[in-house]
């Protein structure tokens, strides 16, 4: 049980760092029914300090992501080379970093192994990686984990560039944009990631710009719940890189809203059985509240 490993042993608590004790007393572990992403700033968060750029929207997304986990005490997060990793690796949830682009293969092995060892327990596995990680270098592993119907969630934090290596073109960069290694502008369109996900067998697929915390939280939760029971789930989130796209910090939200109107309008797809399953859960939760 996840909660047990987090709880300090009796008599030990007073010797632990305050940061850790606060996390247990005032964090979301075991309390996600009361503390969620809409209450950010009112509780101790799973990720706080991180070295991502000031004003980075991807960093904000990561923060919301951790605050939206349905079961943080039984969640394992996989990341890879790329900016998000800088914050993911600083979270109080087990994090695995392998090699660039390998998230969906590592998660396949991990998820299956956890199922073998704990057939009756819920262990959530989430791979969260950049556009380059999932759609370029890791493309075949991403696609094949979906074809194989591996039961975990994939989240693409799409900043439309290789942010971590200094601003090179990725397959998710928009056509025509001039970036490093695309000195004359990108020659082809953004890879249609959500369409591929649907075709490949993801049971829940969502596309969003992070303009609405409540909706982000709901989507993240839904994707994780659906992956437990039915198969692969995928979220494609626009998370701008204010550095490489020269978006002034105070304008990142404005940019996200503009993109939402243009090509990142909210989309949500799910199979009928997922819809039914989520409706039942959400109805029960409402009744409990």
């Amino acid at each position: 049980m996840g909660l047990r490993y987090l709880q300090p042993a009796p008599g030990f608590k007073e010797y632990l760092p305050k940061d850790y004790v606060d996390l247990i007393d005032f964090g979301p572990f075991g309390k996600t029914d009361q503390l969620d992403a809409t209450k950010l700033g009112q509780f101790k968060e799973i990720v706080e300090e991180h070295p991502m750029c000031a004003g980075c929207f991807m960093a904000y997304f990561v923060r919301v992501f951790y605050a939206s986990l349905p079961n943080p005490e039984d969640t394992i997060v996989l990341g890879t080379a790329g900016c998000a990793r800088l914050a993911l690796s600083q979270a109080a949830v087990p994090f695995i970093y392998g090699n660039y682009g390998d998230t969906n293969a590592v998660a396949s092995g991990l998820t299956r192994a956890l199922k073998l060892r704990f057939p009756d327990k819920t262990k959530d596995v989430v791979a969260i990686a950049g556009d380059g990680g999932l759609m370029d270098i890791g493309f075949s592993m991403t696609m094949h984990s979906w074809f194989r119907k591996e039961k975990f969630t994939t989240i693409m934090v799409d900043n439309e560039v290789y942010g971590n290596t200094g601003g090179q073109e990725s397959g998710m960069s928009p056509k025509g944009v001039q970036l490093k290694m695309a000195p004359k502008g990108k020659k082809f369109d953004k890879i249609p990631a959500t369409e591929l996900a649907k075709q490949a067998g993801c049971v829940y697929v969502a596309k969003l710009a992070p303009t609405n915390v409540k909706r982000m939280a709901k989507v993240i939760r839904r994707a994780i719940l659906a992956a437990r029971e039915f198969g692969p789930t995928f979220i494609h989130a626009y998370t701008s890189c204010n550095i490489e796209y020269s978006i002034p910090t105070e304008e990142v939200l404005k940019d996200a809203r503009e993109r939402e109107k243009k090509d990142f309008g909210f989309e949500e797809y799910m199979t009928d059985e997922v819809r039914q399953y989520l409706e039942e859960i959400e109805k029960k939760e409402k009744a409990n509240k």
């Binding site: 049980m1 996840g2 047990r4 490993y5 987090l6 940061d19 850790y20 996390l23 990720v47 706080e48 300090e49 991180h50 070295p51 005490e73 039984d74 969640t75 394992i76 996989l78 800088l86 690796s89 600083q90 979270a91 109080a92 949830v93 087990p94 994090f95 695995i96 392998g98 090699n99 390998d102 293969a105 590592v106 998660a107 396949s108 092995g109 991990l110 998820t111 299956r112 192994a113 956890l114 073998l116 060892r117 704990f118 262990k123 075949s140 592993m141 696609m143 094949h144 194989r148």
Partner: protein, 389 residues
């Protein structure tokens, strides 16, 4: 599938009765997997490995393994092996030449991730022009990865080393992966006698909590308090952490040596220890070296064999001791670069005694006559060149 009972590691490896079977190297590897209580295997086809993973697939179908799948390619295979091992199950995969190189970024990170796992390496040419034959140059790429590397001479070695590999890999003071290599086709597709432990006995299951680095399963605290991530905060800390961690990986590699003594009778085998001239070889080349020693004996020449079973950890002291009075050391190899020759020369103070080769590559066979020629040269025996028309 017979009901298998769990027996003690030492009993299975050292004492259990053995039955003699005439089987291929691929079968020998699969027979070891059958007795190793493996939870999960991941496969990707490549000749000459495929035979091994077909047989392991059959084991899964019969219920010996709990999970098995054909992965997207080798990088995905090796990455998924890492994920499964980190979640605490016992894993196996195998590959050959180009497949090994395709997976090597992931494989080279297994030791650093402290992943117990067993990897079969059934050698095959890499680089161009294409050949699927058993050249073992690929093992050179594994030497610097931190992985434990055993090199099997024949079908019996394949069985013994593979079964022992599971035990060694999971020892708390080792806890890094073990690769068991042998030459493709020459061993994998040829039959030899193998003394095997009973089919109805298997190793104890992996105990994921007997570990120097915790598994990632949300049952025990993770390896480090994640919120203190110094690697991200300063370059100095990242150098330091990498450095001490890798020191520990290589120290773990060295600590495997005592288990190689215990379960495999030591990292080297010496035939005729008082010889003047030694053939020093590993894998299939050791079998040819053994033949050369037999020929030499028939001719009344004082020639010995040093077979190197463990390439990593490399038996520096043992090889030094074995060769300390030797006048010559002839090192036949199945690759162009001579990685074993370099290892031996680096290990011994009297490296002038080493003859580089004979070497065959591209997957050719290694005729005993080639080794004999070097033996004659070393002993100053003039040979008449016979020209057969």
């Amino acid at each position: 599938m017979p009901e298998q009972k769990v027996v003690d590691i030492d009993y299975l490896l050292l004492e259990a009765p053995r039955e003699r079977k005439f089987i291929t190297g691929a079968q020998a590897m699969a027979e070891a997997v059958k007795r190793a209580n493996v939870d999960m295997a991941i496969a990707y086809p490549i000749t000459p490995q495929s035979e091994v993973m077909h047989l392991v697939g059959d084991l899964y179908a019969q219920g010996y393994l709990k999970d098995y799948y054909r992965a997207e390619e080798e990088y995905g295979t090796m990455s998924a092996i890492a994920g499964a091992s980190r979640a605490g199950v016992r894993v196996f995969t195998a590959t050959s030449g180009p497949g090994l190189l395709r997976g090597i970024e992931a494989i080279a990170s297994w030791p650093g991730h402290r992943i117990p796992a067993v990897l079969g390496v059934l050698t095959r040419v890499v680089n161009a022009p294409l050949s699927i034959q058993p050249d073992n140059i690929e093992l050179a790429y594994l030497l610097h990865s931190g992985i434990i590397l055993l090199h099997a001479e024949n079908q019996q070695d394949v069985f013994d080393m593979t079964l022992a590999a599971f035990a060694i890999s999971e020892m708390v003071d080792v806890y890094i992966p073990v690769a068991v290599a042998t030459e493709g086709f020459f061993v994998t597709h040829a039959k030899g006698y193998v003394e095997m432990t009973p089919e109805d006995m298997k190793l104890p299951p992996r105990d994921p909590y007997k570990a120097p680095v915790p598994v990632t399963d949300c049952e025990v605290p993770p390896a480090r308090i994640q919120r203190d991530a110094p690697v991200q905060k300063s370059n100095f800390m990242s150098y330091l952490i990498h450095a001490v961690w890798q020191q520990e990986v290589w120290a773990s590699n060295m600590r495997a040596m005592k288990y190689i003594y215990k379960y495999l009778g030591g990292p080297i085998e010496v035939v005729n220890p008082d010889a003047d001239v030694f053939v020093v070889a590993s894998g299939c080349a050791a079998a040819q070296g053994r033949e050369a020693v037999r020929y030499a004996q028939q001719e009344g020449l004082n020639v010995g064999l040093v077979k190197i079973k463990s390439i990593r950890p490399f038996p520096v002291n043992e090889v030094r001791e074995a060769l300390k009075n030797a006048k010559a050391a002839i090192i036949p190899e199945h690759n162009i670069e001579g990685w074993l020759s370099k290892e031996v020369k680096a290990a011994i103070p009297n490296s002038g005694i080493v003859t580089d080769g004979p070497r065959v590559y591209g997957g050719m066979t290694l005729p005993v006559e080639l080794i004999m020629e070097e033996i004659y040269k070393a002993l100053g025996i003039k040979q008449e060149k016979k020209v057969v028309i």
